[in-house]
Amino acid sequence: MSNKIEAKILSKSYGKVQAIKNINLSVNEGEIFGLIGPDGAGKTTLFRILTSLLLPDSGSATVAGLDVVKDYKQLRTAIGYMPGRFSLYQDLTVEENLEFFASVFGTSIRENYDLIAPIYAQIEPFKDRRAGALSGGMKQKLALSCALIHKPKVLFLDEPGTGVDPVSRKEFWDMLRNLRDQGLTILVSTPYMDEAELCDRVALMQNGEIMAVDTPQGITAGFQQPLFAARSDNMYQLIKDLRAFEGAADCYAFGEYAHLKLNTGVGAGQTVADIRKFLDSRNHRNVEVKSAKPTVEDCFIELMKN
């Protein structure tokens, strides 16, 4: 039995709102697959269908060869699930939480200690502390340990990065890669575009539909237009002005810079110097302009416009 995830034309509505529409998805064994999209894109609904918590209105899906509707009882022993909010008992200690989830899955901490050791070892010094008193990053590690304690074949992580500091997030992704190398299939959802680059493959989701599936490199390679990053003292005016720049296709805020995307035809000849001259003529101060490499977020914004 392979540890693949296959979904065919899955749809689900809540009343009149269609949460996901005709989703087709294929996740290979032993890869980290990211579902990238803003809140409300349908990520959590898709997760809940794949973890057998929700019944799809139409379509079918299998996880590790098990049908999410018919074989849901077997399926539940084969998967690990970490819901969006860290589902821990705040009033139990770290160790009590882990013990409880181990017993729920009919196993013990000792039995599968090896698998969780790299993660759990980091929070073990605090094992007598109540889960509610842990930092976001430690909660995340504990939740992951709890989801892994029964040696699942497929791991579902719904927005694991929310409420966690950047350093802990980086550590967390290192752990995920480590788990993948042990053969686990990992489906992870995130609204953070920078996390997308850390996945083996990603699906970009918007309004219940998957807009593109590829490696992060493949996604950014599809971005053909010239892209520049610019900033000045007056960012609001800068974005407004750049939208009027000759050949501009789009301009939007991107971190502390503004990204300017040019049309392939008219804008192809424009250079960094041209843009700087244009901004100087509009009385911008402390102008900085450079050529930019497209990121997944740039591609996402591009896709959203269409």
């Binding site: 809940r48 057998s52 539940r76």
Partner: protein, 370 residues
């Protein structure tokens, strides 16, 4: 102004707040308004009348036609009194003397005492008993006044003698110990269960439990078992306090009482589980149990107010409240000392409810999210 508008939006969009704001007062006014009248209508009584003469029959008719009493049975001998009270069939008995008419129509003298009527009340429910006795006294006095408008010292008189059965001192503890027991067990078993299951939903841990290989029955058992034990402990504390601190009698079998407690707890637990299958968070669960379980238990089960005085509809609602049956059972066992032979009906009613709500809540407990 904008702030007021915003606040109104909060309120209008939150159905729970709306219900508390409007549902609660309306329900309380209605319930208290209907229930708080201590007027009792159609109370079941028995009459033991060895005289059967014109006077005793006329007085009996006058009592019955007042609307306060309903003649449940004519007794033939004094031996029938005890069983009728024990079974809870009657709330009061009226006992005429031999030759009532004769003694009434002859002037009383030292050699011929006044015509004496005995009134026996079931004081295991002291409020009702007192009210019924007072009614009877008033009606009998009225009958006398009609018959002998002018009172001479030598004119015949009807004297009444009152006895309160089971609770001669009319201690309220006889009423509130069983009442508190129905309340506490409902509170701990139903409310706490519903809140604790709703808490798992609210915090999202239910999702993880559902994705685990645990069966729904295992989740429910795991969640409710501690509360079952706690409830039982609670019941024991109330009984012990009642007996040793407040002087509540314990005439029946302790074992039988314990078994009935467990049965009632099962009803309450299954109600709690049922509520938790409906409620999404702790607040809703708390609110549903308070309004749907605790208030009726307190107001309609006969704990605070006599059920006899309630309008027909509220009496009907009262009969489907587990506490109503449980209340009768506790009083029966502790005060009257009766056992399963008398209380089988109430026990059956509780058992039926337990089965019904347990099945209902199991059916409603989904092993998926909605």
């Amino acid at each position: 102004m904008a702030f007021v508008a915003k606040e109104f939006r909060h309120i209008l969009r939150d159905r729970r707040t709306l219900l508390i704001l409007f549902g609660m007062p309306v329900m309380q006014v209605l319930l208290f308004g209907f229930v708080l009248t201590n007027e009792i209508k159609n109370a079941a009584i028995a009459v033991l009348d060895p005289s059967k003469d014109t006077e005793s029959i006329a007085l009996t008719n006058k009592l019955i036609s007042s609307g306060y009493f309903h003649l449940e049975q004519y007794l033939v001998s004094a031996e029938e009194l005890e069983p009728a009270f024990r079974k809870g069939k009657i709330k009061m008995a009226i006992i005429f003397p031999d030759n009532f008419a004769v003694s009434l129509n002859e002037p009383s003298s030292l050699s011929r005492p006044a015509a004496t009527i005995q009134l026996l009340g079931d004081a295991s429910d002291p409020n009702t008993a007192t009210t019924l006795i007072n009614y009877s006294n008033a009606i009998i006095a009225d009958y006398q006044r009609e018959k002998f408008p002018i009172l001479y010292p030598q004119s015949p008189q009807i004297k009444t003698e009152t006895r309160m059965r089971y609770n001669p001192e009319q201690k309220s503890v006889f009423n509130f110990v069983p009442g508190v027991m129905t309340m506490i067990l409902m509170l701990v078993s139903a409310m706490m269960t519903s809140v604790t299951i709703a808490k798992e939903k609210e915090l999202g841990t239910m999702e993880v439990l559902l994705v685990s290989p645990l069966k729904p029955i295992q989740i429910i058992l795991g969640k409710t078992a501690p509360y079952l034990a706690l409830s039982f402990l609670n019941a024991a504390v109330v009984v012990v306090l009642g007996i040793f601190v407040f002087g509540m009698p314990m005439h029946g079998s302790l074992l039988f009482l314990a078994a009935e407690c467990v049965l009632y707890m099962f009803v309450a637990l299954s109600l709690g589980i049922f509520i938790s299958t409906r409620a999404k968070d702790q607040m809703t669960a708390m609110f549903m149990s308070a309004l749907g379980l605790l208030m009726p238990t307190m107001l309609l089960s006969g704990f605070l107010f006599p059920r006899e005085s309630m309008p027909w509809l509220l009496q009907m609602i009262g009969t489907v409240i587990p506490a109503t049956w449980f209340n009768t059972i506790i009083k029966g066992v502790m005060i009257k000392g009766v056992g399963p032979d008398v209380l089988w009906q109430q026990t059956l009613a509780l058992g039926g409810m337990a089965l019904f709500f347990l099945t209902l809540s199991m059916k409603n407990f989904k092993d998926r999210l909605e």
